[in-house]
Symmetry: C2
Subunit: 314 residues, 2 copies
């Protein structure tokens, strides 16, 4: 993966709405990982500005994540081509729709999936690699609820292209576990969402640090499943779901722009707070480069520990 | 763990209702792992017979798993002491209730938990080791929904006693991942539920082999969360839950003896079928010894592969 992306470490920062603009992406790329701008929360003109600033801020490769079901995808893809972006991660949609277009322009394409069926489909569409994302991941999530531990070996077995593990990877130990399962790189969201360079609101970063086990739950399963951090809004959703609310009711409850309200504007009660289960392990806001190095060093240390494991069979 | 239990391989077969009687437990112990009789589905007299037959069938250590919330726990503990069982796994209840009693008799005690709070509590009660079980596990499950990948590092960090990883471990690769996360042994359920020696009904074993991604879901969250394989009963539960059924309604739907009806008597429509997410990976019914060896050999092979991983930093 490091050869494909021309990066130093097989660590990819997840494209996240309201967290990963040019500051975070360029910081991760400058630190030797792959920074990813999350286009999901950006109007086309805003994305263009982020790409231009990212190019100025780093000479290293970076990528753009494009949720395919969002409006303006055509316009976004045009900007990506015009601005010379070399790597695109597509998610939340059909890989058949844009993979051909991007590959024709010489762009490396990675597609995000949560089951082997879509992994095979993405491979057939000609993508260069796959992100396989498990149940523990923050934000939007697969309906199968398959965890990273179960998903990665199945996807690795199903496809011949490289697999990047996502969901639950917030430490070097978890990164090593992903490699043990056959992944060739990891995509890390939550741990980078609290980086200094993340555009998440300081209130949201504080809430992530305060999160404990069980504080995130997969909600909105009748719409699109999404992992939310506990707050007034998430509790209202949980209550409505427990009472049998249908998709329409949930959509009403969700309304518009709640992710922005919470993650970007800092309303911790009424905003939608998307974060993964690893939030329960995160304890400190640091520069992205330090986060990356601490994960990498722990990965190497744990790899050495595993190398030395010796079983005296009795 | 192998020293503590006096076994050859750090592989423990999970005590499972209706699957793990003396045949499976003795087969696993004879193969060098730790076999566990699941007392949860046994009347005291039945358990006594299973322990006696297990002692005849193997000279190696085996254990009994006792769900502490079940009736007759006192009687069961008395039988365990009288029959000289050397290792007890306690689950589904307060470790304070029986750990002292068992330790006084010189019995090794392991407690099953799904969060760090209970891990710390079990440690304080004096247990010898902990099984930390993630969301992907079959059967009864924690309310936090923390996956094995997220749970193990947190528990390992919280306690000083050894941690056994459970949930999602059905292959040597997953076993290595568990070790990467800091576990010192694994507890494997689903992969042994389909062993030749498992007392699961052949119909149930066939359904496990046929299971695909997304076919198990955590249900009954308003009672005690339990991971169920898709069938008419599970669909009825899903439907009731989607419509907002309360605990009482769910209890009515569940009725009595549904796990026996499905897992032991083979009613694939109306029975309760408890199995983990790894069921989607299982393809073959084999003797327990072959299952154990294939997991162990894959563990060693994957460990070698990880040892050889070399990152050319560019």
């Amino acid at each position: 993966m490091t050869t494909l992306f021309q990066i130093k470490y097989p660590i990819i920062q997840a494209g996240m709405v309201w967290c990963s603009g040019w500051r975070l992406a360029s910081a991760v790329s400058n630190a030797g990982g792959l920074g990813v701008i999350g286009a999901g929360s950006m109007y086309p003109e805003v994305l263009k500005e982020h790409i231009q600033k990212c190019k100025q801020a780093t000479a290293h490769p970076f990528a753009v994540n494009v949720p395919l079901l969002y409006p303006n995808v055509g316009e976004i893809m045009q900007i990506i081509v015009e601005e010379g972006v070399k790597i695109v991660f597509t998610s939340a949609g059909n890989p058949a729709s844009w993979t051909g277009f991007l590959k024709e322009k010489g762009i490396i394409v990675v597609h995000v999936i949560a089951n082997t069926k879509f992994a095979l489909k993405a491979e057939a569409c000609g993508v260069d690699a796959i992100v396989a994302e498990g149940f523990e991941a923050g934000g939007h999530n697969g309906r199968e609820e398959t965890t990273t531990l179960c998903l990665i070996p199945m996807v690795v077995k199903a496809v011949t292209i490289p697999v990047i593990a996502a969901g639950g990877v917030g430490s070097g130990a978890a990164m090593l576990a992903a490699f043990a399962l056959g992944a060739e790189a990891v995509q890390i969201g939550s741990a980078f969402a609290i980086a200094d360079e993340s555009s998440a609101h300081p209130n949201f970063k504080s809430e992530i640090l305060a999160a404990r086990e069980g504080d995130t739950k997969l909600r909105m399963k009748k719409l699109v499943p999404v992992r939310l951090l506990k707050n007034s809004f998430a509790e209202a959703v949980a209550q409505a779901e427990a009472e049998g609310a249908d998709a329409e009711k949930l959509q009403q409850l969700l309304g518009r722009a709640r992710a922005k309200l919470g993650m970007f504007e800092g309303n911790m009660e009424e905003g939608e707070l998307e974060i993964g289960q690893v939030s329960a392990m995160l304890k400190e806001i640091k520069p992205a480069a330090e986060i990356l190095q601490s994960i990498w060093q722990e990965f190497l240390t744990e790899k050495e520990r595993i190398n030395r494991l010796d079983f005296r069979l009795i």
